[in-house]
């Protein structure tokens, strides 16, 4: 039982980081991105392949994953940010689909749907973090560092410009700020943090396959931001807690196995609709979604 609770804690930390990172783009800059799972996947696969195939230590995988993800974020942001609003959402959806297809079909590199197995555990000072306790500690520290980064970004003059862009991009240009730089940078920071979460995930599960990085995953992460509330690191964390624990909690209702999956979808969907209707700002958010 304890192992199971720790498992939920670790998942919450990983998703909390993904959602906090996404909030830089969605909450502060007001750009609804649907590519977060792709960055998550890039980080996870970079770590998985580098540590199993190349046998390098995990920090190298982490670093290369973050760099690759940043480059990818630049490549995505530059064309996507030329379109606005709904078109931006569609553009990011497109990139998410491309990234998933690459993971699934570039069999020579990723082994396609078979995934990558045998990822070694994280080691800290040469000591492997095999037990759930150890790993939970690592996940908490990682979540804390990410919280610090996201909070700093949000409170800084950089975050102030992002919030201004969200409200009136023309004004920000007239004030002499290169808005494209700010939007691309927000996207890059968000992607790099998501890649770091991917590294953690890969070493935790010891196995990755493309099904963890689908469009559904991107929607789930965006839902965490929307349900928890955008604009501060606490909202996305709360969203992650809610959306990780509710489906897990449903396991204990003793539903038939065939039904449980469907019920989860229903609960998840209705939570999202309920929040959008009753509280468009999310539980503790600053900005409302939808009109």
């Amino acid at each position: 039982m304890m192992e199971y609770l720790l498992h939920i804690l670790i998942l919450t930390c990983i998703y909390g980081v993904l959602a906090m990172a996404l909030d830089i783009v969605v909450g502060h800059a007001g750009l609804l991105s649907m590519t977060q799972a792709a960055f998550f996947g890039i980080g996870a696969y970079a770590s998985a392949l580098l540590t199993t195939v190349a046998g390098v230590p995990w920090p190298v995988g982490l670093g290369i994953g973050m760099v690759l993800s940043s480059l990818m974020a630049c490549a995505i942001a530059l064309p996507s940010l030329r379109v606005h609003d709904d078109y931006f959402v569609v553009a990011t959806l497109g990139f998410q689909m491309v990234a998933y297809s690459l993971l699934n079909n570039w069999i020579g590199l990723t082994q396609g749907p078979f995934g990558v197995a045998g990822i070694p555990p994280l080691t800290v000072g040469g000591y492997p973090m095999r037990s759930a306790w150890m790993f939970a500690l690592v996940a908490l520290v990682f979540c804390g560092i990410s919280w610090f980064v996201v909070a700093r970004v949000g409170r800084s003059p950089f975050g102030r410009v992002l919030r201004a862009i969200r409200e009136d991009e023309i004004l920000v240009l007239a004030l002499g700020k290169d808005t494209l730089y700010f939007k691309v940078t927000a996207f890059v920071v968000s992607g790099a943090l998501a890649a770091a979460a991917g590294t953690l995930y890969a070493h935790y599960t010891t196995y990755v396959d493309p099904s963890s990085f689908t469009i559904m995953e991107s929607i789930l992460i965006a839902s965490m931001v929307i349900i928890g509330g955008a604009g501060s690191p606490w909202g996305p964390i709360l969203g992650a807690v809610v959306l990780v624990t509710i489906p897990e909690g449903l396991r204990f209702l003793g539903l038939p196995v065939g039904m449980a999956g469907h019920i989860r979808q229903v609960v998840y969907g209705s939570t999202l609709v309920l929040v959008m209707v009753a509280r468009p700002r999310g539980i503790i958010g600053r900005y409302s979604f939808g009109r």
Partner: protein, 263 residues
């Protein structure tokens, strides 16, 4: 020397704060700007007047980089800005206020003024995360912001949300932002339109003070009493062309100018 050559010379030497040579801009077959050649004096208030659709706002949008001219060149302090992005032009010292008051309602008045400050280290994400020197810089931004707010008379509203200000106060805030950013040339689209009559005289005094402190102002305005009182020079536009330029009392009496307004 032709007028055109003279204007290029004026533009390149930087005698004028803003100047344009042969600017043209067409929207769907309508000539919004039709071979506009004009220069605006430094350290003076110039009013840009004309009937609706004369091309005044289009001219401002070309000068501030939001529109690219189809033909012609424009200069800021002698630098060619015809193909420069809006934020680069702003960094050259051209501040812009808008007719449809653009404002970030969610920020406080002080935050708004601090946002306007240029070249902030804390706007680089690496420095922002590391936090090195950002706090000190924010102190400077705060002081400069408060000074700018004090200049326009908004210091008591520093912690009010910008969205909660009155319309006139929001107009003052946009001016304060130009000051906090240290702009030398202010391009203003209808600064007194829609504000309470009691505030007009305050605003007139403020604009005069700005000019007295060595700034150049280009003001689009419909209110001719305001223009007569304030402007050292008037530029009249009609149908995308400059039809007259000169002292307010002589230009505004001329029949062709009056006719342009009657249309």
């Amino acid at each position: 020397m032709t007028k055109r050559e003279a204007c290029i010379a004026v533009g390149e030497t930087g005698v004028a704060c803003l100047s344009a040579v042969g600017l043209s801009k067409t929207f769907d077959g309508t000539r919004a700007l039709d071979d506009v050649t004009v220069s605006f004096a430094k350290n003076a208030i110039t009013a840009l007047v004309g009937p609706n659709g004369a091309g005044k706002t289009t001219l401002l949008n070309v000068f501030s980089g939001f529109l690219r001219p189809d033909a012609g060149q424009c200069f800021v302090d002698g630098r060619d800005i015809s193909h420069m992005a809006p934020h680069r032009i702003a960094q050259l010292g051209v501040g812009r206020t808008f007719q449809d008051l653009r404002i970030v309602g969610g920020l406080t008045v002080l935050e708004h003024a601090m946002l306007a400050r240029g070249q902030q280290r804390g706007e680089r994400v690496g420095w922002a995360v590391l936090g090195i020197g950002v706090r000190h810089e924010e102190e400077e931004n705060r002081e400069a912001g408060l000074r700018a707010l004090g200049y326009v008379g908004l210091e008591t509203k520093a912690s009010t949300r910008a969205a909660d200000l009155s319309y006139g106060e929001q107009k003052l805030l946009t001016i304060a932002c130009c000051l906090a950013a240290g702009r030398r040339t202010l391009v203003m689209d209808e600064p007194v339109a829609g504000i309470h009559p009691a505030m007009v005289s305050d605003l007139t005094a403020l604009l005069r003070r700005l000019c007295g402190n060595g700034r150049s102002l280009i003001v689009v305005e419909h209110d001719l009493t305001f223009v007569r009182e304030l402007a050292a020079e008037v530029v009249v536009m009609d149908e995308g062309r400059i039809v007259a330029q000169g002292l307010p009392r002589s230009v505004l009496e001329r029949t062709e100018v009056l006719e342009a307004f009657v249309d």
